[in-house]
């Protein structure tokens, strides 16, 4: 069973949004289910800090062995920071997706978009769990 923390929000494309301790600021990464489906992650392509994205825009790609997939922005946001440690250690996306495997830290730029994301229960149903 994939881990689905109850206090995070999710997209149907398997990204999560996790409060980063400051109002309107979040960590974004991919879910435990997604990392399991992808297999061993060997590379994460991330944008430069300062870049802005609309909701569900592609903000980067993740490459597991042989397979490149898009990463979607859960909300409209500005990139504040990228997880630079993933360059040397992309495998942490597999081993700790909700912790050290975060990908970008963002500031949400459009109020109200969080309502369109899935809660843990809805995401669980989306992946056929629960």
């Amino acid at each position: 069973m994939a881990e689905i923390p109850g206090d995070l929000l999710y997209t149907e494309e398997h990204e999560y949004l996790k409060p980063a301790g400051e109002d309107g600021v979040y960590f974004v990464g991919i879910t435990d289910y997604a990392q399991g489906e992808l297999g061993d992650v060997v590379f994460v392509e991330l944008p430069d800090p300062g870049k802005k994205f609309g909701r569900m825009d592609v903000f980067g790609t993740v490459e597991a062995v042989k397979a490149v997939s898009d990463l979607f922005s859960p909300v409209s946001c500005e990139i504040l920071e990228v997880n630079a440690s993933l360059a040397d250690n992309p495998g942490v996306v597999n081993s700790d997706p909700y912790g050290a495997g975060w990908m970008v830290r963002v500031r949400a730029t459009t109020a109200g978009e969080l309502d369109q994301l899935l809660g843990a229960g809805e995401y669980g149903k989306h992946i056929g769990q629960g």
């Binding site: 061993d40 060997v42 590379f43 397979a67 490149v68 997939s69 898009d70």
Partner: protein
């Protein structure tokens, strides 16, 4: 009774690397907007070195030496590592992510279809077993050749890789293409590398080596068509590249010819 799904089949003449990648991408885009799944079979002329989408290549490969050797260079839209496309047959599949399953399920199903095709020729290939070690991060694997080792689930003869495949997943559509090595070797991938060694060498085999002969013209293509139809429970309908697709591919080809894309990393 459920109707048998009909996929398009394109059997293409040999083309340059940039044109081949552009056509694969145009077909992929067509499926993204609701087109039928496609199987395309093709070859490369002149020989071409392809990099994976995210593979570090700048400063690691020598474009001058490649040009002097008559080898073109292109960067694929899919993942993975460097491949020399010369004496091989390439397959490409563009299919909706729900059609067969997710990326990994599709990967395994297409590899099983290829194994079935090779078995029809009398070539006993199998799926490479899972590896116990983690793959190297791409930035450390860097210039490694794709055929240096068989990853879990790939088509191999014993432990030696015969087919190297890679995927792109976008808007719930998958593009998977891969090289079925017919003859020759992958040593040019290592020869075109610059910088300090040691460069890992390929551990691959070829259809000629594994079968003891080269398939006759069209023989492998026919086996692949039958293997795909049987394994995937589909019917293939052969047809040409549509005019709109060819026009779209011609525009996309500019990207695959540009040094900005080829040497992006």
């Amino acid at each position: 009774m459920q109707a048998t799904p009909v996929w398009r089949l394109l059997v293409d003449p040999p083309r340059e690397g940039a044109a081949n990648m552009a056509i694969d991408e145009a077909l992929f885009e067509g499926v993204q907007v609701g087109g039928r799944p496609v199987l395309r079979l093709y070859r490369w002329r002149p020989p071409c070195l392809s990099f994976g989408r995210n593979q570090p290549a700048r400063g690691r490969y020598d474009p001058g030496l490649a040009a002097a050797s008559g080898i073109a260079i292109v960067r694929r839209p899919t993942g993975g590592l460097a491949v020399l496309h010369d004496r091989e047959l390439t397959y490409a599949v563009a299919v909706g992510a729900g059609e067969i399953g997710g990326p990994r399920a599709t990967y395994l199903a297409l590899n099983r279809a290829l194994i079935r095709a090779l078995a029809r020729l009398g070539l006993p290939a199998s799926v490479a077993p899972p590896r116990s070690d983690r793959p190297l991060p791409l930035d450390r694997a860097g210039g490694h050749p794709c055929f240096a080792e068989a990853a879990s689930g790939e088509v191999a003869v014993g432990r030696r890789k015969l087919v190297g495949s890679a995927q792109r997943c976008e808007r719930r559509t998958l593009l998977q293409h891969g090289s079925i090595l017919l003859d020759g070797d992958q040593s040019a991938v290592t020869r075109l590398q610059t910088g300090p060694g040691p460069h890992p060498v390929s551990d691959s085999t070829t259809v000629r080596e594994a079968l003891g002969r080269l398939p006759a013209a069209g023989e492998l293509e026919a086996a692949i068509m039958a293997g795909f139809e049987q394994e995937l429970g589909i019917r293939l309908e052969e047809g040409p590249l549509l005019t709109a697709e060819a026009e779209r591919a011609a525009r996309i080809e500019e990207k695959y010819r540009s040094p900005e894309w080829t040497w992006r990393r």
